[in-house]
């Protein structure tokens, strides 16, 4: 709207009234149709039920909101100090990047102690396991999206492959979790390469669309291959994890009995917590290590400029395939964990919204940033739980929060990039210089 672009002139009452009038008309036009008219099923068809009060209330909120904005934010004289002083902003940026060195280890210590803290109950531990699963998935996807710059909208497919691999191998052959875990990772990596081949030549939006389709194909195959995957019924009775062969059972030979403890159902939860923590840390460790190896630098170089990579003798085919395979492998590990934790899996757990959520974690955290993924997972998954009471508005609140964060920090919470090697002094690279790669 024109008046928003020139706030100074809107202070004059006539213009202000005109602007509010336009706002009222527009919001009535939108809410009048969307909220004001409601279809109800009646015998013999549908009936329109007017709900004018709700529509008017929403329109009133829009008008009053705009009036408030006119009187406060938009009426500030030009050259007035910004609402958030630049100093504060710079300090926040500094704190976000500078404390990374202290913040990471502190978070790790907290994560290690969490099950033994006095306020920790089953609910908190279950939630932490969920958050850590998403941290691990975020780290896995970060390799593909953040480092190699290949937008993958079907990452959940590898999560599904890992989960079904573990479930089927463990159920049919009775193999242990520790044997199935690497197999699930290898199978997921294999499917990562299968996805990698067709998208090798694709750029930009086309890459994103094909990965999206791949995620859907996997889900639909799982849904329809009834005799093998159980279709929509899923697979139930997946073996629960044991402590290196010792089951978490009550009685003789169980975990509590072997270690002379009183039986508690928490033992298994604590074990699962440490299991996912270890898997997530493994993902992090390997990723950090790979970043300092030639393959990691090649991924980042691929994100920056593919043609320059080829001119330097990098085989971009294998660089892309290794990125897809490595990312998929960690997705597969997380899937195997998911299957053993839930004891039941069905294609419903692997819908597109999961891919979108994992991608949101990576983008919100700042592409390529490991600690950013942790913060974003805690904020998103933890936030979902906090707002569980506000059931209907949960998605709305999150949509608004995401938009606000992306306006404030368009390149994610941690936008700067840490160099993988330095000669004299380690200097962070500003996010503005870092390319985003294909498909963004």
């Amino acid at each position: 709207m024109a008046s928003a672009a020139s706030p100074a002139s809107a202070r004059r009452p006539a213009k202000l009234a005109a602007d509010l009038g336009v706002t009222a008309l527009l919001s009535l036009a939108i809410f009048g149709t969307m909220v004001g008219l409601r279809t109800e099923t009646i015998p013999g068809g549908l009936e329109l039920q007017p709900q004018w009060t709700s529509a008017l209330a929403l329109a009133a909120v829009a008008v009053v909101g705009r009036l408030v904005l006119h009187l406060t934010v938009w009426s500030r004289p030009e050259g007035a100090p910004p609402l958030l002083p630049m100093g504060v902003r710079a300090r926040v940026e500094q704190a976000a990047t500078g404390t990374g060195k202290v913040f990471g280890p502190a978070l790790l210590v907290f994560a290690l102690l969490l099950p033994f803290l006095p306020f920790t109950d089953r609910y908190i531990l279950d939630l932490s396991i969920l958050v850590l699963t998403y941290v691990m998935l975020g780290w896995g996807l970060n390799i593909v999206v953040g480092l190699a710059g290949l937008l993958d909208l079907g990452y959940v497919a590898f999560y599904a492959v890992g989960a079904y691999s573990y479930a089927l191998l463990a159920m049919h052959f009775g193999w242990s979790f520790w044997l199935c875990l690497p197999l699930a990772g290898i199978l997921a990596a294999f499917w990562g390469i299968i996805l990698g081949f067709p998208v090798l030549r694709l750029r930009g939006d086309y890459l994103a669309i094909v990965t999206l389709a791949f995620g859907e194909i996997i889900r639909i195959v799982l849904l329809n291959w009834y005799w093998f995957t159980g279709g929509p019924d899923g697979i139930s009775g997946i073996p629960r994890p044991s402590f290196f062969g010792i089951p978490f059972d009550r009685g003789e030979g169980g975990f509590a009995d072997t270690f002379g403890l009183d039986f508690s159902s928490m033992h298994r939860i604590i074990f699962l917590y440490f299991l996912i923590l270890a898997l997530a840390l493994l993902t992090n460790f390997v990723t950090m290590r790979l970043r300092r190896l030639p393959i990691g630098r090649a991924w980042e170089a691929l994100r920056e400029d593919e043609i320059a990579c080829r001119s330097l003798g990098l085989n971009t085919t294998s660089v892309k395939l290794t990125a897809f395979a490595t990312g998929a492998m960690f997705g597969g590990f997380a899937g195997a964990f998911f299957a053993t934790r839930q004891g039941f899996i069905s294609p419903e757990s692997f819908t597109f919204i999961e891919s979108a959520l994992i991608l949101a974690i990576v983008v919100l955290g700042g592409m390529g940033s490991q600690i950013g993924v942790v913060i974003a997972s805690v904020a998103l998954i933890g936030g979902f739980e906090v707002f569980r009471e506000a059931e209907d508005f949960r998605m709305l609140i999150f949509g608004v929060a995401m938009v606000l964060i992306m306006i404030w920090r368009p390149r994610g919470l941690i936008a700067t990039r840490e160099p993988s090697i330095f000669l004299r002094e380690k200097k962070s690279v500003s996010g503005a210089l870092v390319a985003q790669g294909e498909g963004h």
């Binding site: 790979l290 190896l293 030639p294 320059a308 080829r310 001119s311 090697i421 500003s430 210089l433």
Partner: protein
């Protein structure tokens, strides 16, 4: 040895649909020499480069790289990424293509990807911390430091490549190409957009590469001070075809070249030729007087 044929281009033709961008071009670039490829805009110079470095597959023709070991490589048959790796041909780009979000040092490390990849046991050894990766990385950093020093970029080693001024970016791109250990360095307009001081620094870097490293350089350039100042041999293209081939002195006085650059009609070429002779005679007269 210096003076041997390093790159042989024979009957190179590149057609895009009905357009013949390069027409039956043959020339030789020699080891330890700077060969310049010049011509008016749209003459097909960059297309020749793209054929040499595998970004295009030529319609007709043969491109042969001769190593001093006696190995020969037919570049038109190799996939693009193998040309720098096996045939040792490195290139830079007209519009600079650095890894802007990575530091200067990282850019030079990516250029040494293939030897480092082998040293890291194709990543497996590197992840587990076994094998000679650490030593190999140290060597790679040393090579990078060597070229940083030669390119005058030592002080900027830890800065993002995208943060460097234009002239530094040009030299960094050359340093990065040199880190691949090439036998032939193909430079696409390295002096474009440089100020006279930066041009001078570039000339020095190129002469150093030729003198010290026994590397052949193939150069596309519009800046005549660079071309005439440092090249040993010049090939002139116009409308995709070669119109002249010789030393800077010969090219400077070639009527066809002058006509191509000034854009005179074919009938007027003789006229121009005549004028040049007169000017040359006058200049010669002054010299002896």
């Amino acid at each position: 040895m210096a003076g041997d044929a390093l790159l042989e281009v024979e009957h190179l033709t590149m057609r895009f649909g009905g357009l013949t961008a390069v027409d039956d071009l043959s020339f030789v670039a020699r080891r330890g020499e700077i060969t310049a490829l010049i011509g008016p805009n749209g003459a097909g110079k960059t297309t020749v480069f793209n054929c040499l470095t595998g970004f295009y597959k030529p319609t007709v023709g043969r491109i042969t790289m001769h190593h001093e070991t006696g190995d020969t490589f037919l570049l038109e048959r190799m996939p693009d990424f193998q040309i720098p790796r096996e045939a040792k041909v490195a290139r830079t780009f007209q519009n600079i293509r650095l890894f802007g979000g990575m530091t200067v040092l990282e850019n030079l490390m990516v250029a040494q990807h293939n030897p480092l990849m082998r040293a890291s046991g194709f990543t497996f050894g590197g992840v587990l911390g076994i094998g000679g990766y650490r030593a190999a990385e140290r060597e790679a950093v040393e090579l990078a430091e060597y070229w940083l020093d030669k390119a005058g970029l030592m002080a900027r080693a830890d800065d993002a490549a995208g943060d460097l001024p234009y002239g530094d970016q040009r030299r960094l791109e050359i340093a990065r190409a040199m880190c691949t250990g090439p036998k032939l360095l193909c430079l696409d307009e390295p002096a474009a957009g440089l100020n006279p001081r930066e041009s001078e620094e570039l000339n020095r870097l190129l002469l150093f590469i030729r003198k010290e490293r026994d590397v052949g350089i193939l150069l596309i350039e519009h800046d005549m001070s660079v071309v005439m100042g440092i090249s040993d041999h010049i090939v002139v293209l116009d409308y995709g075809a070669k119109i002249a081939d010789g030393t800077p002195e010969q090219i400077r006085n070639d009527p066809k070249v002058i006509a191509a650059y000034l854009g005179v009609e074919d009938e007027e070429v003789e006229e121009v030729e005549h004028e040049i002779e007169e000017t040359a005679a006058a200049a010669g007269g002054e010299g002896t007087a």
